[in-house]
C-alpha cells in the first residue's frame, strides 16, 4: 500500500515535471513563431522589387531601402576583412603553436572577456580610436573596423573548433616525413579546417550585420541623398534604418510598413547567412563521414 502510493507519487512527479520541461521548449518555439508571423504578415505587402532597388523618397516616407542594403553589405565586407584573417591567425596560434602556460591562459581569458564586452562599449571604443584618434571620421571604414573587433572573439572561437576537428594523425604524418610545422599547417591542417572556419565566420558576420549599437556613432547616417562613393563616406544601414523608422521618424505611424519591410529584409539576410552556414556544416559532416 505504502509502496504503491510512493511509486504513484513518483509517477505523477515525473509526469508533471516532464510536462513543465515540454512547456518550456514549447514557449521558445511559440516565441519564434510569433516573431516570424508578425514580421512576415505585416511586411508582405511592402516587399517588392522597387522596395529593394530604389532610394528612399519624400523624407523616407516612400520609396525603397537600397542605400541601407548597400551600406550594410559594405560594412560587413570591412568587418570580414579585419576579423577573418586575425581570427584565423589567433586560432592557429592557440591550437597549433601555443603551449599550456600563463600567456595562453591570458589570451583565452581575453577572448572570453572580449566576447562579453557590451556592443555599445565597442561603439565608444570605435569613436575614441577610429573616429577621433586615427582621424578616420564617421565613415564605413570606422564602423566596419569597430564591428570587426567585436566579431573577432567569435571568429577565433569558431576557427579553433574547426582546427580541433582535424585529426592529430594528419599532423603527425606530415611532421614524420620531415615537413616543418608551418608546412604541415599549410598543407595538412588548413585545407581540412577552412570550410569549418568559414561556417563559424559566416555566423559571426551575420550577427555583425544585424548590430546597431557599434555603428550608431562611428558612421551610420540618418538619411543620405545617394549611395556611398568611398569607404570614407557615411552610410545608411538596415539595422539603424529600422531603429530610426520605428523611434525617430517624424511620421512614425505612416512609415510603419517601411519599418516592417526593413525588418523582414534584415531578418531574411541574417537568416540566409545562417542557413548557408548550417548547410555548409551539414555537407562538411557528411563529407567527413564518408
Amino acid at each position: 500500500m505504502n509502496l504503491s502510493k510512493r511509486s504513484q507519487k513518483k509517477f505523477f512527479e515525473q509526469f508533471f515535471g516532464f510536462g513543465f520541461l515540454r512547456l518550456c521548449m514549447l514557449a521558445i518555439i511559440v516565441i519564434l513563431v510569433i516573431i516570424f508571423y508578425d514580421i512576415i504578415s505585416k511586411s508582405w505587402g511592402v516587399i517588392s522589387w522597387e522596395f529593394l532597388t530604389q532610394l528612399p523618397r519624400k523624407g523616407m516616407t516612400e520609396g525603397g531601402i537600397l542605400p541601407t542594403i548597400v551600406g550594410t553589405v559594405l560594412v560587413t565586407i570591412i568587418t570580414a576583412v579585419l576579423s577573418v584573417p586575425l581570427g584565423m591567425g589567433c586560432a592557429i596560434y592557440l591550437n597549433e603553436y601555443a603551449k599550456v602556460n600563463k600567456l595562453t591562459r591570458l589570451i583565452r581569458i581575453s577572448i572570453r572577456n572580449l566576447s562579453g564586452v557590451p556592443s555599445i562599449v565597442y561603439g565608444l571604443f570605435g569613436v575614441a580610436l577610429f573616429v577621433e584618434m586615427m582621424h578616420l571620421g564617421t565613415c564605413i571604414l570606422s564602423s566596419g573596423l569597430t564591428l570587426g573587433l567585436m566579431t573577432l572573439p567569435w571568429t577565433i572561437t569558431a576557427s579553433e573548433e574547426a582546427l580541433k576537428g582535424v585529426p592529430m594523425s594528419y599532423r603527425e604524418g606530415s611532421l614524420a616525413l620531415g615537413a616543418t610545422q608551418w608546412q604541415t599547417i599549410r598543407t595538412n591542417v588548413l585545407p581540412y579546417a577552412i570550410p569549418g572556419m568559414l561556417t563559424g565566420t559566416i555566423l559571426g558576420l551575420a550577427r555583425a550585420a544585424g548590430e546597431t549599437a557599434p555603428i550608431l556613432f562611428t558612421g551610420a547616417a540618418f538619411s543620405l541623398p545617394g549611395l556611398p562613393k568611398s569607404l570614407f563616406d557615411q552610410f545608411m544601414a538596415m539595422p539603424y534604418h529600422l531603429y530610426i523608422m520605428s523611434t525617430q521618424h517624424h511620421a512614425i505611424v505612416k512609415v510603419r510598413p517601411i519599418a516592417y519591410g526593413t525588418a523582414l529584409v534584415l531578418v531574411s539576410i541574417v537568416f540566409l547567412m545562417n542557413l548557408s552556414a548550417i548547410i555548409l556544416r551539414y555537407h562538411l559532416r557528411k563529407a567527413r563521414q564518408e
Binding site: L21, T104, I111, G116, I120, M133, W182, G210, V270, N274
Partner: protein, 294 residues
C-alpha cells in the same frame, strides 16, 4: 636550410603576435575608456558620480552627473529578464538533454540558434509594435514602453545563451552518475533533478551569468522598449533608462570633449567593469566545475 629555419621562426613569431594582439585589444578598450573617462572627474567628484541619483548633464545652471538611477534601471530590467529566462532556459536545456527524442532535438536545436540570430534591433522593434501595446492593454498604462517590456525582450535575448550553455553542462555530466541513480530505483525525473542538475549546477550557474552579462550590455532592445525616462525607476510598469540607453541616446547629441562627453565614457567604463567581473566569476565557476569531473 638556414633560410627555411628563419622562415619557420618568422611565421611562429607572427602567429604569437596575433595571439598577443587579442590581449592588447582588451587592454586597449580598457585604457581608452579610462583615458576618455578621467576628465569627467575634474568637474564631478567620483562620489557624486557613483552615489548621485540625479542625471541631468545638459542643465546650464546645475548639471548633475549621478549614475545610480541608471545602474538601478539596468539591474531592474536584467533581474526581471532573468526571472523569466532562467526557468524557461534551464527547463528547455533539460528537455533537450533528457526528454526529447533525438529526432525532435535535431529540429529543436536550430530553433534556439535561429532565435539567437535575430538582431537585437528587430527584437526592440517588436517590443514597440507588439509587446508594448499588449502590456498597455493588459495593465491600462499609456504606452507599454516600460521596464517590464524591456525585461521580456531581454529574456528573449538571453534565452539562447542560457539554453545552449546549460545543455552543454548537462551533456558533460558523466553517464555513470545517471546510471547509478537509475539503478538505485530513482525515476528519470528524480535522476534529472537531484543528480544531473545538481552535478551540472556550476555549469548552469555560469550559463545564467553569461546570459546576465548579455542582458546588462544589451543596448538596442532596452533603448527602444523601456521608454527612456531619466528618472529614478519606481516600478516595472514605469519607464526606465538603463546605462546602455543613456550612452546611445546622448553620445549623438553631445559636443565632443565636454564633461558630458567624458561622463558617457565613464558610464561605458562602469559597464565594462560590471560585465568584466561577471564574466570572470562565470569563468572561475566553470573552471571549478570542469575540475570536479577530472
Amino acid at each position: 636550410m638556414n633560410a627555411a629555419r628563419f622562415k619557420e621562426k618568422f611565421v611562429q613569431r607572427a602567429f604569437l603576435f596575433n595571439g598577443i594582439l587579442v590581449i592588447m585589444i582588451l587592454a586597449g578598450i580598457f585604457l581608452l575608456l579610462v583615458i576618455n573617462a578621467l576628465p569627467t572627474f575634474k568637474d564631478v567628484s567620483l562620489k557624486e558620480f557613483l552615489t548621485g541619483t540625479n542625471w541631468n548633464p545638459s542643465s546650464d545652471y546645475n548639471p548633475a552627473y549621478g549614475i545610480v538611477s541608471m545602474v538601478v534601471s539596468t539591474f531592474m530590467v536584467t533581474i526581471g529578464s532573468l526571472v523569466i529566462a532562467v526557468p524557461i532556459g534551464i527547463g528547455t536545456a533539460a528537455y533537450l538533454s533528457d526528454v526529447a527524442h533525438p529526432k525532435v532535438r535535431e529540429i529543436a536545436k536550430p530553433v534556439v540558434e535561429i532565435l539567437a540570430g535575430i538582431p537585437s534591433v528587430v527584437i526592440g522593434f517588436l517590443g514597440i509594435v507588439m509587446v508594448g501595446p499588449f502590456i498597455a492593454k493588459l495593465t491600462g498604462t499609456y504606452s507599454g514602453l516600460n521596464a517590464l517590456n524591456g525585461s521580456i525582450l531581454l529574456a528573449v535575448m538571453a534565452l539562447p545563451t542560457i539554453v545552449s550553455l546549460s545543455e552543454d553542462a548537462l551533456a558533460n555530466v558523466p553517464k555513470s552518475f545517471q546510471e547509478a541513480s537509475l539503478a538505485l530505483g530513482a525515476s528519470h525525473w528524480q535522476t534529472l533533478v537531484r543528480v544531473k542538475l545538481a552535478a551540472a549546477s556550476s555549469g548552469i550557474i555560469a550559463a545564467c551569468m553569461l546570459g546576465m552579462g548579455r542582458a546588462i550590455g544589451e543596448t538596442m532592445t532596452v533603448l527602444m522598449a523601456t521608454g527612456n525616462a531619466p528618472a529614478f525607476p519606481s516600478g516595472f510598469l514605469n519607464s526606465v533608462r538603463p546605462m546602455t540607453s543613456t550612452i546611445a541616446i546622448e553620445l549623438g547629441e553631445v559636443p565632443y570633449y565636454t564633461t558630458h562627453y567624458h561622463a558617457l565614457f565613464a558610464i561605458g567604463l562602469v559597464l565594462f567593469l560590471i560585465t568584466f567581473v561577471i564574466n570572470m566569476i562565470a569563468d572561475i565557476v566553470l573552471h571549478r566545475y570542469e575540475r570536479n569531473f577530472r
